[in-house]
Symmetry: C2
Subunit: 227 residues, 2 copies
């Protein structure tokens, strides 16, 4: 309905355990009209940054994400890219990434997100942010975070659509990463009361959404009604 109305649309995800292809297939299975070209995700954002700055990454990421870096030169690395590597967060792999980083004259650490933890069916798991902090501390560097809520991430999505922030609306369930990040970038943002939304989000000390909706369909209704 958004697309049919003529409005431009991007899907912004922090997914870093799978390629955009896999992510898109999942959403297509749920009935979404979505293609890979419409997805803004941390891995391609990192690839853009790597190319712009001539960086060759040592990757500490999930196996399923590696194909996103297929076209990137990874020989003789001069930076480290860390994502939610899950089982790949082994003692050996962390030491290896650390050695690459500490061995650089000017250590560059790029992190595909700054999440603290998330829940899976078998329990809570440490997210990439925790391991990012470990490497930051060990090497006395500050990671460059791509992905929500980074301003550059939202700016990429806007640039890809050719839309200024004042003319864009972000819809998301995450009060900090979706709503706060988009607002920092000059966009308006609507929080949807599904997914990871919690009632206590409505008393968040820093972030106040421009509106709430009960589900995505309601967000679409309201947006189309105001055209």
């Amino acid at each position: 309905r958004i697309k049919a109305s003529g409005l431009k649309l991007r899907f912004c995800t922090n997914e870093t355990q799978a390629t955009r292809e896999k992510f898109v297939k999942k959403l297509q299975g749920l009935g979404f009209d979505i293609s890979v070209a419409e997805v803004t995700a941390p891995a391609p954002a990192a690839c853009r940054l790597l190319k712009e700055r001539g960086l060759r990454p040592h990757l500490l990421v999930h196996d399923d994400l590696v194909p996103e870096f297929a076209e990137i030169d990874k020989t003789n690395p001069n930076c480290v890219v860390i994502g939610d590597a899950a089982e790949n967060f082994s003692y050996a792999n962390l030491n290896e990434a650390f050695r690459v980083l500490i061995g650089l004259e000017k250590p560059v650490l790029i992190s595909l997100g700054r999440g603290r933890y998330y829940k899976e069916t078998d329990g809570l798991k440490l997210d990439v942010g925790a391991y990012m902090k470990a490497l930051e501390y060990a090497c006395d560097v500050q990671a460059e975070v791509v992905g929500k809520p980074a301003k550059t991430f939202f700016e990429s999505a806007l640039a890809e659509m050719g839309v200024p922030p004042q003319q864009a609306i972000m819809i998301g369930d995450d009060i900090v990463n979706d709503v706060g990040g988009a607002q920092q970038c000059g966009m308006r943002a609507v929080q949807v009361r599904t997914g990871k939304y919690r009632p206590c989000d409505e008393n968040h000390p820093q972030v106040k959404p421009d509106a709430y909706v009960n589900n995505l369909a309601e967000a679409v209704d309201i947006i189309l009604n105001q055209l």
Copy 2:
């Protein structure tokens, strides 16, 4: 010679990959007159703290350190103790420690040191401080660090000898953990130009030793000469 002179003596170590027994055997093998009762180390310091506050730890430590916690109740944990766990820093073990911590009403994290990294024959390794930072970030807590350079650690050693800080001298090779820590505690501190000493330590922006010596024997000479 120090002992024979009548001066009191303690050995302060941040060793957390082995029990004091093992540490003492190593030094005895090198010719030191040393017993377990003369060693101040992070694990027994942590045990004292656990007992004082009725804390039951979940341990994320090196296998060889576990015997130091033999007398501590570890059922139904209400805190996490992290040491340099080396190979035990697996993805599964870190998630487990994290789950214990985040599940506590008031998360308590006790860290046996705050080192960033160290060198072994097969290369650099991340030290406990890096993993401490990961858990701190994930759970939004601040770890309580036992071991050098914590003030309480030096205070324990002084209390065990019954000596006020102004009458004690610390001799060590680590500019921050040995020299800086002891000085913070009101002691004088001598840096020995062996071990992890580096010439650039002499230009350290924060810490200035009260004196330098070329080796431990020289430190003993100078101290005994001033009696």
